[in-house]
């Protein structure tokens, strides 16, 4: 492993989908326990905790709430809230804590029973609150509507078609079919996506992520502390962030977003380039999110990702196997845990644990999270040690 660089020593997620009887903190505790067991560590070994946010059990101090519930009193704890970028930002922050010598083993944990604990209508309403209270929400925006505005602008500028968007959903589902844990495992076609219920044009139901119950956790360790753990370590080779706006009405551009800079930072720190990456797990709240990020980060030229995906570029054996667990559109989306599912999958790929969906000899993985309306971005490059 690289000297001085943080190591991911534990990674796990709970069952996902519709989990009757689950609670937000129960999912946190289950995921944390699984990640600790994966690392071969005990709760008392954890000296740092990073939590995110919850819709079903919101609290001003979620990290304190979790530590109390789980029965640990770490030397450091904090909660991070940056929407879909939260998962990657937690990993970046945890790595900074261990690399600075402040912590030895940081537990990163998130979970929510967003499906059974909230109702679909309440989830949609709660999410729409990211809109500007005076200059967006009065016009009836939802998160899908805001991403749809990006979609039409991007399609207009780069000749992207609804079929190209649909190809993102089909690619995710193709992977999910191979993943026994995925929430949606019935194969779909481009025609199925185009025939699904319109939500906010051009986005249709199958262009959108799921609403799920579930939790995920990772342990990030200092390089010397990682020697005490059970698994083949995965090193965080580079991370980067960029925020350009919060509200779409104030975004500097509708076709260029911060993912380009956040990824460039992560690649530069890791000393690699997009073409070196063997497997990518990229935030896919909507088909357009994934398409824009694939092209902005540099994996594909502008306007190229859709046609490439239609030709299987995102599948196993393709140019860039992407969202091999099924992503937010077919695996699951449980709030901040949704972004952590991408990280957990990257770790599994690098350890060679991904079974039927394994990318052969995957040594370098890229993970990206996006919060708000392509507002906050965080990118990670992970490597097999």
């Amino acid at each position: 492993m690289s000297p001085g660089r943080a190591v991911i020593t534990g990674a796990a997620d709970t069952a996902v989908g519709e989990l009757p009887g689950s609670t937000c903190m129960g999912l946190h505790a289950e995921a944390a326990g699984l990640a600790l067991a994966d690392a071969g560590l005990r709760p008392g070994d954890i000296d740092g905790v990073l939590c995110a946010y919850s819709f079903s059990e919101p609290h001003l101090m979620l990290a304190s709430v979790f530590c109390e519930y789980f029965g640990i009193q770490p030397a450091y704890s904090a909660a991070i809230q940056a929407g879909g970028a939260t998962g990657c930002i937690m990993i970046m922050q945890a790595s900074a804590l261990v690399e600075a010598g402040i912590c030895r083993h940081v537990l990163v944990v998130a979970g929510d029973n967003r499906l059974t604990g909230l109702s679909r209508d309440r989830a949609v309403a709660a999410l729409s609150e990211v809109g500007h209270p005076q200059f967006e929400r009065p016009f009836g925006v939802t998160v899908p509507a805001l991403y749809a505005l990006v979609a039409h602008a991007y399609m207009h500028e780069y000749g992207v078609t609804p079929e190209h968007l649909a190809a993102m959903a089909v690619a995710s589902r193709t992977h999910a079919v191979r993943n026994p844990k995925a929430q949606m495992r019935v194969p779909i076609t481009v025609a199925d996506v185009l025939a699904s219920l319109p939500i906010a044009e051009p986005l249709r139901l199958l262009d959108c992520c799921l609403i799920s119950d579930g939790g995920a956790a990772l342990v990030i360790s200092a390089p010397d502390a990682a020697r005490d753990t059970a698994q083949r370590p995965v090193t965080l080779l580079g991370a980067g962030q960029k925020n350009t706006h919060e509200h779409l009405v104030a975004a500097p551009s509708l076709t260029n977003f911060g993912c380009r800079e956040s990824a460039a930072q992560a690649f530069a720190r890791a000393g690699v380039k997009p073409a070196d990456i063997h497997v990518a797990e990229i935030y896919d709240s909507f088909t357009v999110t994934l398409l824009v990020e694939l092209e902005s980060i540099g994996f594909f030229e502008k306007g190229e990702a859709g046609p490439a995906a239609l030709d299987g570029a995102l599948d196993l054996g393709g140019r860039l196997p992407c969202n091999t667990h099924g992503g937010l559109m077919s695996y699951a989306h449980s709030g901040a845990a949704g972004g952590l599912f991408h990280v957990v999958e990257a770790v599994r790929q690098l350890r060679g644990e991904a079974a039927a969906r394994q990318v052969p000899d995957a040594e370098l993985a890229f993970v990206h999270g996006d919060g708000g309306i392509l507002s906050a971005h965080c990118s990670l490059v992970l490597g097999r040690s």
């Binding site: 809109g131 005076q134 505005l149 219920l197 044009e201 986005l203 009405v249």
Partner: protein
């Protein structure tokens, strides 16, 4: 759009009150910085371009062009259901900043990116006398 308290009509604050006062009179207002000359929206206590304090308010042309649009079929709350499907749009104002509105008329039926639009206002209403802006086709503008 129908009147309904569940729509959470804007509650003006010190940053935004001049905008909504103008809106209630049918006037689109923007801030312009005396130091650097740039216009901005949404309103702020400082200039987002040069960070000088207290940008001044001015009446805007109300002219702009369509940047993007979406026809919404699934609303954020039941209060918007009577209007389904409705069109949300981003309009680039002639002065530079972008504004979000609903489209009406021909502009809503056949939205065309780059098409000329004019910002209008609905009837003022509610506890804070709010008139929401909307946009319609502008046959005069070329």
């Amino acid at each position: 759009m129908a009147e309904d308290p569940a729509r959470l009509l804007p509650v003006p604050n010190a940053d935004t009150a001049p905008f909504w006062e103008g809106a209630a009179r049918g006037e689109l207002r923007l801030q312009r910085c005396a130091a650097c000359g740039q216009a901005q929206f949404p309103p702020r206590a400082i200039c987002v371009h040069c960070h000088a304090p207290a940008p001044a308010w001015e009446a805007a042309s109300g002219r702009g062009r369509l940047v993007s649009h979406t026809r919404v079929h699934r609303p954020p709350s039941p209060a918007f259901k009577p209007d389904l499907p409705y069109v949300v749009a981003l309009v680039a104002l002639e002065e530079g900043p972008r504004i979000m509105v609903n489209l009406r008329g021909v502009a809503a039926a056949e939205p065309r990116i780059g098409g000329a639009l004019r910002i209008r206002f609905g009837p003022p209403g509610g506890a804070h006398i709010i008139a929401l802006p909307y946009a319609e086709e502008d046959p005069v503008q070329r």
